[in-house]
Every structure is written in structure tokens, then in C-alpha cells.
Assembly symmetry: C2
Homo-oligomer: 356 residues x 2
């Protein structure tokens, strides 16, 4: 167990000063080829791990990072992502950071366009994006590319853009997993209802499309023939949902299972509970407060979690470490798909990974 190697040690070994080593490590220039080579030779030999907390301590400049995501509601998915982002900021408490958050209505493409146009003009060092609308996101990304501002996606990747990285679950596999779980709960060859959200501008979110594809592919590969039925649903005009649901469950009173591939599973769970329909198995998505409650009450059977806190945390942390410490970045980052039930939900810590 040898002692940890420090900049001072490298300097001594290379026959230069600590300042020069620092200049080499950070590519700050003003180093003669000879000195650079000497330092690089030493660096090859030793296992130098900079102590980034100490490093942050002596950093002078301030950084500005902009965050844009769908609007944040308490207890819901996007709030968790923002929690994670905030924690990453706290983990580097001695960095001088300014963070600006701009959110848009994820069910209204025009809201998104407006916010993204504003962001395109802002001063910043880096951008974190929670994308919803494919083309609008790519338009923003192009502007960022021109301005040489790095950006990272959370929640899902946006095909066609060149992010520094993305942190997302594998939505296709998420759909597959939901299909596997629901089919393990219901009889062979039966009906399955799936909820489908309607959006202003009539564009489905990319993630939902992928989930549905994963779901349908799994179903169609089974020997048993399930009949998948769509349940219409609108987040923006909730007054119609009662009607939609009631019509659906009247037409299909024998339906044994429902899958909800957005985070609104609790709407259906409540509907069923209020109408004393207790024999419908449910597999739902995201650990929003109401979904967790429905799980604990036994209204939902399986809930899939996508580690939103962790996504936000890693996105922010990765960005900071790239920006400030030039740490190399993995572009593709898929997070866990957690399976929660009545039995294990109690131990699920949202900040498991993050909190000290």
C-alpha cells in the first residue's frame, strides 16, 4: 500500500514545478515540449488520481448551467429529476455555480418552442435538456452545436442530436418488461388495456412510442394471443377521462389487466377503486407520489421505476466533471428499471445513491 501520489510528487519526478504539472494536466498551454514530455512520461508511470474536492476548493471561475425540462409538479417524475440535479450541485459544494431552470408544458408543443427559442439566446456554459418534442429539441441542439455549448439529455435521448451524453432508461425494454409482468399476472389469451395520452399538437412523446413498441413486440412473440386494447386519455382535458374510462370498462367488463406506460397509472387505479372494480391487475410506470400510494394500497400490482433522481444526479455530475475537470464522458447511459411491489416499495430510497 504505497502513499497517494500528489502533484508535488509528479513535479519532483519530472524535475519541474507543481505549476508546470498543473498546466500539463489541464492543457493550459505555456509549457515547453521538453517539460510536457517529462511530465507526461511520469504520468504514464504513476497512477495519479486528482482529488477533485480539493481541486474545486481552489477553483476561481464561476460556471452557469441552464436546465430545461417539462414543468415540475410536486411528487412527480420531473421533480425527482430536479432533485437529483440539485444533489449533484451539493456534492460539489465548493464550486461556484449558477443554475437557471426553464420549464415548458410537455403536452403543448408551442410552449416548448417558445422556451427553447429563449434558451437558444442565453449565455451559459452548459445545458441539460429533458426532451419531449423531437424536432424542437433538435432545433435547439443545432443552435447549441453552433455555439459550442455542451448539452446532456435526461429521461431520453433525442435521435439526430449530438449530446455530450444522455441518461435515460431503455424505453423499449421498459415496454417489454411491462408486457412480461402483466402477462405473468393474467390468464392466457385475455385482453389487456393500455392507456394512451393525447397531446396538443398531436405528437406522441418519443419515449411512449418506444415503450409501446417494446410492449407489442413482446406480446406478439408469445404463443398466447393477447388482445391489446387502447384506453383514450387526456392529461390536458381531464374532465373527459371519467367518461373515457367508464366507457372502456363497461365495454370490457371482463378485462383482467391494464398497463399504463406514462406516469398517470393512479388515475385508472382510482377509477377502478371508486367503482369497486377489484379484479383488474395493473402494471404502471414511475414512482410518483400517487402511484406509490396506489401500490401500497394494492391497487397497482407492479410499478416500474426509472431512477429519475439518479438520472438528474448523474447528468449534472457528468456535466460538471466534464466542464471543470475535463473528465471523459460515456455517451450512452441507461439507468435501471426497478420493479416495485407492495413488498419492496418500503425499502426503496429515492436518494439511495445520492444522499450522504
Amino acid at each position: 500500500m504505497q502513499k497517494k501520489i500528489r502533484i508535488k510528487d509528479i513535479a519532483r519526478l519530472a524535475g519541474v514545478s507543481a505549476g508546470t504539472v498543473d498546466r500539463v494536466l489541464h492543457n493550459r498551454g505555456n509549457v515547453s515540449p521538453k517539460a510536457r514530455q517529462a511530465v507526461e512520461a511520469v504520468l504514464k508511470e504513476v497512477d495519479y488520481k486528482p482529488n477533485i474536492h480539493v481541486s474545486a476548493l481552489s477553483l476561481k471561475r464561476t460556471y452557469k448551467i441552464v436546465i430545461t425540462t417539462p414543468n415540475i409538479s410536486p411528487g412527480e417524475y420531473w421533480e425527482s429529476i430536479h432533485h437529483g440535479i440539485r444533489h449533484a450541485k451539493e456534492a460539489y459544494a465548493n464550486l461556484k455555480l449558477t443554475i437557471e431552470v426553464l420549464t415548458y408544458n410537455q403536452y403543448d408543443i408551442f410552449s416548448c418552442m417558445k422556451v427553447f427559442r429563449q434558451i437558444a439566446e442565453m449565455e451559459m456554459d452548459a445545458l441539460i435538456i429533458g426532451p419531449t418534442f423531437h424536432n424542437e429539441t433538435n432545433a435547439l441542439c443545432e443552435k447549441m452545436d453552433e455555439r459550442n455549448i455542451p448539452y446532456i439529455f435526461v429521461d431520453s435521448n433525442n435521435e439526430g442530436a449530438c449530446p455530450l451524453a444522455f441518461f435515460s432508461s431503455d424505453h423499449y425494454m421498459c415496454g417489454t418488461l411491462m408486457a412480461k409482468l402483466i402477462t405473468s399476472l393474467i390468464p392466457a389469451n385475455s385482453k389487456i388495456g393500455i392507456l394512451q395520452a393525447v397531446r396538443v399538437g398531436n405528437q406522441s412523446a418519443n419515449s411512449t412510442i418506444l415503450r409501446k413498441r417494446g410492449f407489442m413486440d413482446y406480446i406478439s412473440k408469445q404463443e398466447r394471443a393477447y388482445q391489446v386494447l387502447r384506453i383514450p386519455f387526456s392529461v390536458e382535458e381531464p374532465e373527459n377521462n371519467e367518461t373515457y374510462l367508464s366507457r372502456f370498462f363497461t365495454d370490457h367488463h371482463d378485462i383482467p389487466g391494464v398497463v399504463v406506460m406514462n406516469s398517470r397509472g393512479n388515475y385508472v387505479a382510482s377509477y377502478l377503486d371508486n367503482n369497486h372494480i377489484h379484479d383488474v391487475k395493473m402494471v404502471c410506470l414511475d414512482l410518483t407520489a400517487p402511484n406509490v400510494e396506489a401500490l401500497k394500497k394494492g391497487q397497482i400490482d407492479f410499478l416500474i421505476g426509472q431512477e429519475p433522481e439518479y438520472q438528474g444526479f448523474r447528468a449534472m455530475k457528468t456535466m460538471l466533471e466534464y466542464l471543470i475537470f475535463k473528465k471523459p464522458v460515456n455517451r450512452e447511459n441507461y439507468v435501471q428499471l426497478d420493479i416495485l411491489t407492495l413488498e419492496n416499495i418500503g425499502f426503496y430510497k429515492r436518494f439511495n445513491n445520492i444522499l450522504s
Copy 2:
């Protein structure tokens, strides 16, 4: 957004020097009641969060921590716990730590006694224990109590001891969860096989007993009557296992599901695969390398993970922060019970939480 408050700020507000504030913060004594009150008054007002990385930077003394657990095999449960411990050490890279690891044979009570007697005499600042044998563990703990050395359990708590904390899954609920999963996979009113490990000294590990109790309680609460059958199994004398298994599956050729409540599920999975028995559903425990492989091959249907890396990480981190920064400690810490399937295993990162 106000600036972060530092010791120097507190000193100024209280009208004392930084040294005095430090003495108050760490209860080092040598502070007049008047000064102490002044500082404490300020501390009540402001939200002071010490930067522990900076703090570690200037710490002089070295700490010695002893770890004792069952023997470590590559790719298995206890190795993961040790990984986690090592990571916590790396997270506080600038602390001066000496770590000594002593392991024992978890299937042999005499091995455990010998190692624990040795530990009881060693010099150390703190101890982390992975317990197996209840009484032997408590004997060691009593010695530690006398010597005023704090200790933390990983993997399970040991009733009767007074640990600073424990990091464990809820073994009872783990059994319950396994019961729920296996019953969701097999027909009503059928047989279920469960594997039971035999130990030298004939003492079951506490965790296994709890798991089995959780399992049986769930089964007996169901309307459907399952018949639970025990499959004998020995880790220490593996040459008999083939016979045990073959006898069992011959006698019960119609068995639709098997649950393994220790980490050796892959033994059964391999046996079934080698003998071309493909219609037995399996719910197993722990993400050992061979279990994960069996899950990926479809031989195991559900695998339960107990976050061993996280347990080790948190145990070590908690100990360090208690020892060095006097950080208050939560005694009871239950970790997640992760449900893994063929679909989501690929995204499961053992060091999710830990790795930077």
C-alpha cells in the same frame, strides 16, 4: 442564494476565533462557557454545513478499522460487500486509513470462533462485522462494548448486540417477496420446493430463518394451499448435492416452482438445465455471477438483489463519518430488495450509487 457559510464567518459573528469555533464544533474542550454559548447561538442561526472533504484534508491522525465477514469468493455476495467498503474508503481518499480484513468460514462455527477470538484482542478504532453465528457474534460484541470500540453490522443485524448501526435487507420481507413472486408464476395449489443449506455445527444462519418465516407466513395466508417441500443441500460437501437434487426431482417430477433462499440458486438451475427439465420456475437470491448468468439464460425467472455493495459502502461511510466527523448515525438501515429479470438485469449496475 446566499453564500456558503464558513467557520471563519461563524467566528466573526460570535466574536471569537476560528480555532474556538472548531473546538466547539468538535467538543474538544478548552472553551469557556461564554465562548461556547456565543458560538452555539450563531450555529443555531446559520445553516453551517462543514465541507468534510476539506476537513479530511487537514486531518492528521490515522484510523484503523477491522473488517470481519465470511470468506470472500470471486463474483459472490461477500465480495460485493467488500467492494462497497473499498469504495467508501476511496470516497475519502485523503483520510489516513488502515484497514485489516479477517474472514471466517460461514459454514463452520469453529472457524468463526477462532477468528473472533483473535479480533477481540486486536488494536482498532472500529469494527465492521458480517455476522453469521448468533452467539459467537454477540460474544465478540460484548468484548467490543467493554473496550468501547464501535461496530457496525452488514448483511444482517444480530439481536442482543448494541451496534452503532446495521445495514441489512429485511430478511423476513425478502422471504415474503419471494413467496409472492413464485406464486405469481405457478398454478394455484401446487408444490413449491425450497432449498435448505446444512451447516457444520448445525446452526442455521439467522437471515435464512427469517426469510423462511416470511415465506411460510405469506404462503399460509393465501387462499390457495401450496405444498412446500424442502430440498436438502450442503455447501461444504457438494458431492452429495447431485444425489439430493436428483432424488428430489424424481420424487416430485411434477413440481412447477423452486425457491432458493441462499445464494446457491445456480446449482439447482444448472441441475435442471443439465437434466433437460425446463418447466420449473425459479425464484432465487443474490446477484452472484453464476446466478446472473442463469437469469440471463432464462433458467432463473426472478432474482432478488440485496444491494451488497451499497451495504458495505454505507457501513464504511457511516463508520468513518461517525468516527471522524461525529456525524449522527441511524441505527436501523434496511436496503432495497431489487427484483431482477431477464429484461432489466442488463441495466443493473452494481456500483450504480457508488462509482463516480
